[in-house]
Amino acid sequence: MNKVSKSPWLLHYDASSCNGCDIEVLDCLTPKYDIERFGIINTGDPFQADILLITGGINSQTERVVRQLYSQMPEPKVVVAVGICACTGGVFKECYNIKGGIDTVIPVDVYVPGCAARPESIIDGVVRALKVLDAKQAALKDSGR
């Protein structure tokens, strides 16, 4: 019953996305996709979140924000990079202000490619992240924390 994957709360952050992926993320909340049926709540608060869902590549302005959000989330936590920009930097990869994908700043657990990523693949990615979340929780328990 204590499984964290039974009630994963999700924090969504737009690192520099064009909003295409963001709209698809919000799509997941609509009646058609309804991610709340997995117990997922879209929370705005890093202190209460288990999954950090980031869209867009990292630029020089959002780098410290992403670091801070990640550091404020209590363990166990996972990061899902949504969209090709969040995975690798996408078409903006060579831009002077873009550092690249999310994994240039914080460790990423699940990559969801696509431009824009479809709601189905976002849900798939989140569900895969839940398994990682459970594994991390088990690892934490084994290490006695």
Binding site: K3, K6, E36, G39, N42, G44, Q48, P74, E75
Partner: protein, 287 residues
């Protein structure tokens, strides 16, 4: 003897019942929005998860203040179910809320502080009516004691329908339902992150949630007082009416948008004055 059983039942079962009601509320809300919604036991999963998460403490008093909120709410509820003084129950209820406000003000997050000041504003909005409800019970039954109120020959609601309507109106604040869900936010309302609970995580948040479940059952207990009289079937009627009130609060939550603080204050005071004040006036002239 029956009082001890009632108090024990409240202390042990209220969080479970409150959590189940919360789960039911989420399912009903989802169905109203043509969604499937989470499982009925989702609040239990949430609590289990919160207790298992790493504890991030922003300062060393927040957990203690949240614990005080929980314990004082438990005392208030236990007093209600023990048949003690209703006025005292309501005062202790406000004291409990003060601890929550202190817990939120203790951290440095501007969102939490804003939530705390809004919570105080909400108290200002509902407190006058809650006191009038206690006065109404006194005028109707001649006693502030819950034990006497439930043994009256006629249900109190016959004499105080206005106060019931007013209490239903302001209960939306206590249940943290839209349109009066200003100090904290759930679901998609995120204009100030999580308000009061912004810097609460893990166990601290779980304790606050459990306290809210206790409060929910306490409020339904007060709703029951309106209907219960010396006959046995009035208890059944009271529970049925509580179910209807629960459904109406959920419906209201789903069909209304959040209001600004001024609208909250004015609307609550107008309802207090019109529904509550007129009812009290009639009672005072009549009795």
């Amino acid at each position: 003897m029956i009082r001890i059983i009632l108090v024990l039942a409240y202390l042990l079962l209220a969080p479970f019942l409150g959590a189940l009601l919360d789960g039911l509320d989420r399912i009903i809300s989802a169905r109203m929005q043509r969604r499937r919604g989470p499982s009925l036991f989702q609040p239990f999963y949430d609590l289990g998860k919160l207790f298992s998460k790493e504890l991030i403490t922003v300062n060393n008093v927040q957990l203690l203040l949240n614990m005080s909120y929980l314990v004082i709410l438990m005392i208030a509820g236990a007093m209600l179910f023990a048949g003690a003084d209703l006025l005292m129950v309501l005062f202790i209820l406000s004291t409990a809320d003060m601890f929550l406000i202190m817990a939120a003000s203790s951290d440095s997050s501007p969102y939490a502080n804003m939530g705390a000041s809004r919570e105080m504003l909400q108290m200002m909005a509902y407190e006058p009516l809650t006191l009038l409800v206690a006065v109404g019970f006194y005028l109707t039954t001649g006693s502030f004691h819950v034990g006497d109120i439930i043994n009256a020959p006629v249900s109190a609601v016959v004499f105080m329908p206005g106060l019931l309507v007013g209490f239903m109106f302001t209960a939306a604040i206590k249940f943290r339902k839209s349109p009066f869900d200003l100090s904290t936010s759930h679901h998609a309302h995120q204009e100030m992150v999580k308000g009061l609970t912004t810097e609460m995580s893990g166990m601290t948040l779980a304790i606050m949630n459990i306290a809210e479940y206790y409060e929910k059952i306490l409020l339904f207990g007060i709703f029951c007082l309106f209907f219960v009289n010396s006959t046995w079937w009035s208890w059944v009627a009271a529970i049925v009416v509580c179910g209807v009130i629960f459904f109406m609060e959920t419906l209201w939550d789903n069909v209304s948008a959040r209001v600004k603080w001024k609208t909250l204050l004015y609307s609550c005071w107008v309802v207090t004055l019109v529904a509550g004040g007129v009812n009290i006036l009639i009672l005072m002239l009549d009795k």
